[in-house]
Symmetry: C2
Subunit: 470 residues, 2 copies
C-alpha cells in the first residue's frame, strides 16, 4: 500500500502542523500538498464548514451535509497530509510542540513550522451567560440550535393558540447588523411571509415581527454608505424592523434590554461581536483586545518566524493602517501565502542553502510583505436582495443577488454539493419552500416554560410592543 | 384570509384525531383531506421520516433533510387538517378525549373518531439500559447518533494509532439481521472498503471487521429461504461476518456477550427487537406481548368502533393466521382503509342516515374486512446488492438493487427530495463517496474513555478476536 509506505517515510521529513481547517488552514494544507514535508492538520471538528452559507442551515434552507465536508475527504489526495480530530490545548514555542488533549490521552506533536488558523467565535462583551438565551452562528451545531429554536417558536405558538392559552409573541430579535445579522433577519422575514405562511391554522406567521438591532449608525457598517442605505431599504421591504444606534445592555431568557426598554421575543439571535479563538493568547505573545495576534508583515509571530497566524485570528493592517477584515478571502490568501513561504524555505533547506532553523533570523532571504488583494464584498439580504461592493462599482438588488448566488455555488467545496445546493435554491426560488425544516434535539424552547407564561404571558406581551416602538 | 375563516367553521365539524404522522397516520390524514370533518394530526416530532432510508443517514450517505419533511408542509394544501406538535400522554375513550402534555401545558382534544398510528420502537428484551451502549435506528436523532459513533470510532482509532497508544479495535457489531440490520452491516462494510479507505494515514479502514449477529437460523428471517441464502452470500462478499443462531445475552459499553463468549467493538448497533409504542397500552384494552393492540377485522378497537389502530401498533392476522408485518405498505393501506370508512360514515351522518355514535354498533352498515394487498418486499444489502420477493418471483443482486433504488426514490415524499437523493446516489455510485460525513454533538465515544483503554486496552483487544472466532 503506497499510502502507508509514504507515511513511514514522512516520519523523517520536516513537519508542518496546521491548527484549524477553516478557509485559511485548508488552503494552506492544499498548497502544501505534495511538498517534501509531512503536514498534520488538527481540527476539533471532523468537517470543514462553508461558513458563508451557515445561515441557510439555521433558516432551514439547506442541510448541514450540503455545506460541510469531511476534512479527510477534502485532503484525501494529498498523501503527505494527515488529519487529526483533536482539541489543541497548548503550545510550547521553545520546544516547538503543539499539545492536544481529548477523550483518552494528551499528546504532543512536534513541528518545524506551525500555522495557527483557529478562527474566531462570537463574543458577548464579557457576558458569556447570554449565549444560552441568544445563540450565535459559527458552527454547524450553532446553526442546528438556531433552526430548532426558530421552528419550535412557531410550533409552540400554534399549540398555545389552539389550546386557547396566552399567545406566544411571534417576535424574533437579531442583535447585530453585520453580514450575518442581515442575512438572518432577511431570511427570517422571508420564511414568515412565504415558506411558513400557509402551514398553520390558528396563528398567522405573516404577522411575525423581525427586529434587527445594531449598535452602530448603519446596517452593514463595513460597507460603503450607499450600499448600507440600500441594504436598509431592502430589509424594510422584506418587513424587517431595523433599530440602529441601539445598544443591547442585557439579555435574559426570552427578552433583551436596550437601556430601560425591554423587548420580548420567542427567539433571540446573536450576530454582534466577534472574539478570536482563545488559542491566540496561548502563543505567549500579547494579543489585541479581541484576542487577535498581531503578526509581522509576513504573517509570522514576532520572534518566531517558524510560527504563522492567519485568518480571523491574525491582526494585520493594510497599507492604509486598517485591519484586514475577518472574511474568507483574507484567510484563503493568507493561507496560500504562508504555505508558499514554507514550501520555498523547505526547498532551500533541502538544497542546503540554509537550515530551516535559520529562517528564523532575518539573515535568510527576505520573505516580503503579504498584500491582500480585495476582490470585493457581497452580502445577501433575502430573495433577490443583496448588495455588492467591487471597489468603484456598487450593485444592489437582483443583480447583486445573482452574483452572490453564483459566487457561493462556485466556491462551495465539492462538485456534488454545488449540484445539491443549486437544486435546493432553484426549487426554493420557484416554490418559496424550505426543505430542511426539521426540529432535532430537545423540544423545549428556552425561556418559554409553563410557569412563566401561564402567569405573566399577557402582561409581557404588552411590554414587547412598548419596547419595540420606544 | 380563507384559511382562518375555514378554521372557525371547523370548530363545529366532527373531529378526527390522528396520533402519529408516520406512513399510516399521514396516509389517513391525506385521505381525509377535504372531508366534511376537522382533522387534527398530533406528532411529537415536527417531521415525517421516510424510515426505509434512515440507515442511509446513519451511514453518512444522505442528510436528514433529504429523507424527512415537515408534516405541516406535506399536509399544507388540506385546509381541514391541522397539525399539532405535542406528546400524547393518555386517552379517555369514555369521554372521547386525547390528552397531551408538553413544555407549557396539558391539553385535552375531543374526537369523534380517533386513529392511533403511533408506530413502534426498538426493544431490548427488558434491558433498556443496553440502549446507551447499542443504539437502535427509528428516528432522525437515532440516525445522527449512530453516524456520530461510526465516524468517531475511526477518528479515535487514527488518533490513538498516531500517538502510539493501544489500538482501538475497528470492530463493528450489528445485532439482528432483519432488513435494518442487513442494510446497516452491508453499508458499513462498503464504507470501510471504499468511502473511508484512503482517508486515513495510520489505520487502514479496510481492515475493519463488521459482525452481524442473528438469533434465528437465517438472515432476513421473514424472507423466503432462497433469498435469505442469497442475502447471506451477498453479505459475505461484502466482507460482513455473519453469526446466526446466536443470542446476545448481555451488552456493556464497547462489548457484547453471547453466553460466555465476549466480543469487543468500537460501535454496537441494535436492530434486533421491535416494541410497539407504549401508547397502545394506554387504550385500556389488552395488548399482546410486543405491546401491539389486537384489532377487529375493520381495524377498530373491540367495543370502540370510533377508535382505530393502524400500522406497527396494530396486531391483525391475515387469512392464513399470520400477523401482518410491520412495514410501510401495511400502514399505508390501513391508513387509507380507515380514512375511507370514516369519510363514508361521516357522509351517512350528514345525510341523516344514522348518527356517528351508532356506527359503534354493528346495526349500522357493515364495514367489511381489511385485506392487505402484498406488493412484495425489497431489502437492500449494499452497492448493487439486494433481494426482492414478489411472491412467485424472487430476484437477487443487481436487478433487485435497481428495483429497490427506483421504488425508494419514487416513494420519497417531495419532488425535490427525489432529485436530491437521486443526485447523491448517482454521485456515490460512481465515486464511492459518502457526502454527509459530519460528526455533530459530543466528540466522546461511549465506552472508550482514557482510564479503560490506557490500562486494559491491549488485553481486551485479544479477547475480541477470541470472541469473534469462537
Amino acid at each position: 500500500m503506497k499510502g502507508k509506505a509514504a507515511h513511514s517515510e514522512m516520519k523523517t521529513l520536516p513537519r508542518v502542523v496546521i491548527v484549524g481547517a477553516g478557509f485559511g488552514g485548508l488552503t494552506a494544507a492544499q498548497t502544501l500538498g505534495g511538498a517534501a514535508a509531512a503536514i498534520t492538520v488538527i481540527d476539533r471538528s471532523n468537517h470543514h464548514t462553508f461558513q458563508p452559507l451557515l445561515y441557510q442551515v439555521a433558516t432551514a434552507g439547506l442541510s448541514p451535509g450540503e455545506i460541510a465536508s469531511s476534512i479527510r475527504s477534502i485532503l484525501r489526495r494529498h498523501k503527505n497530509v494527515e488529519v487529526l480530530m483533536a482539541e489543541v490545548t497548548e503550545f510550547d514555542l521553545a520546544r516547538k510542540v503543539v499539545k492536544t488533549a481529548d477523550q483518552e490521552t494528551a499528546q504532543e506533536i512536534a513541528y518545524d513550522f506551525l500555522i495557527l488558523a483557529a478562527g474566531a467565535s462570537h463574543a458577548y462583551f464579557g457576558h458569556d451567560e447570554w449565549e444560552a438565551f441568544a445563540p450565535g452562528l459559527k458552527s454547524v451545531e450553532d446553526a442546528l440550535e438556531i433552526r430548532r429554536r426558530i421552528l419550535l417558536a412557531f410550533e409552540l405558538a400554534e399549540r398555545r393558540a389552539a389550546a386557547g392559552g396566552p399567545p406566544v409573541p411571534l417576535n424574533f430579535i437579531v442583535v447585530g447588523a453585520g453580514p450575518t445579522g442581515v442575512e438572518l433577519a432577511g431570511t427570517l422575514a422571508e420564511i414568515c411571509r412565504h415558506a411558513l405562511a400557509d402551514d398553520f391554522r390558528t396563528i398567522d406567521p405573516r404577522r411575525a415581527r423581525i427586529h434587527l438591532i445594531e449598535g452602530g449608525e448603519h446596517v452593514l457598517p463595513s460597507y460603503p454608505q450607499d450600499l448600507s442605505r440600500s441594504a436598509l431599504e431592502q430589509l424594510n421591504r422584506l418587513g424587517v424592523e431595523v433599530l440602529t444606534s441601539t445598544m443591547v445592555t442585557k439579555v435574559e431568557p426570552g427578552a433583551i434590554y436596550m437601556g430601560e426598554a425591554r423587548m420580548e421575543a420567542a427567539v433571540i439571535l446573536w450576530a454582534a461581536g466577534v472574539a478570536a479563538s482563545p488559542l491566540g493568547r496561548k502563543l505567549g505573545v500579547a494579543a489585541d483586545r479581541a484576542g487577535r495576534v498581531p503578526v509581522e508583515s509576513d504573517l509570522s509571530v514576532p520572534g518566531h518566524p517558524e510560527v504563522f497566524v492567519i485568518g480571523d485570528l491574525a491582526a494585520l493592517k493594510d497599507a492604509s493602517g486598517k485591519l484586514l477584515p475577518g472574511v474568507a478571502q483574507v484567510a484563503i490568501q493568507e493561507g496560500r501565502w504562508v504555505a508558499k513561504i514554507i514550501r520555498r524555505e523547505l526547498e532551500w533547506e533541502r538544497q542546503g542553502l540554509h537550515p530551516v532553523s535559520q529562517t528564523a533570523t532575518k539573515v535568510g532571504r527576505p520573505r516580503g510583505t503579504f498584500h491582500y488583494h480585495d476582490k470585493g464584498s457581497l452580502a445577501t439580504i433575502g430573495r433577490a436582495a443583496a448588495v455588492a461592493d467591487f471597489g468603484k462599482i456598487h450593485i444592489s438588488g437582483y443583480i447583486a443577488w445573482l452574483t452572490w448566488l453564483f459566487v457561493h455555488i462556485f466556491f462551495l467545496i465539492g462538485f456534488q454539493n454545488r449540484v445539491l445546493v443549486f437544486v435546493q435554491w432553484a426549487w426554493s426560488y420557484f416554490t418559496y419552500e424550505r426543505s430542511a425544516r426539521l426540529i432535532t434535539g430537545s423540544t423545549n424552547l428556552p425561556g418559554w416554560n409553563s410557569s412563566r407564561l401561564g402567569e405573566q404571558g399577557e402582561a409581557e406581551e404588552q411590554e414587547i410592543s412598548a419596547g419595540a416602538h420606544k
